[in-house]
Symmetry: C2
Subunit: 98 residues, 2 copies
Amino acid sequence: MPPPPEYFCTGNIAKGFKLKNMSQSVFYHAGCPVCVSAEHDIVNLIGAANVEVVHLGEDKARIAEAEAAGVQSVPALLTPNGHVLHINFGAAMADVKA
Amino acid sequence: MPPPPEYFCTGNIAKGFKLKNMSQSVFYHAGCPVCVSAEHDIVNLIGAANVEVVHLGEDKARIAEAEAAGVQSVPALLTPNGHVLHINFGAAMADVKA
């Protein structure tokens, strides 16, 4: 069978993209006491369904993603519109990576 | 007419207390660009009805209240349970008071 013409969508264009709730915020932390307290406050304020919690100490694969988003210290909240709110101060990203 | 017995509530016990929505947070700021950006993010995240916005530069009478709550810099969010989330860094309270 010949390949489909180029204007046909062969169905794998979106391969590699992860489905994500675009209205969700991401809370990055490293398990420190300042982080845990801020996490409780943020979840209480905006609701658990609206925030993905990422522990960078346990999930080091996501450190690069956090840094690319502008996270300089933890705890930090990445809002749905791409702003980073650095909340109090738990640890610098350099310490999280160490 | 004799005064009412002491077990009567004469209706002014709550005088001087301001009615307040206890589930409301308070966002303290000083009008700086960092503050304005964070204010928009916080209002978007938790809803305008759930946060009282206080401009300490225009309402200096509330600086003492903010400091008593633990606010050290602005912008800061005082949560309903009394925690202070210092968000990014706009200005120190010393500069707000100046």
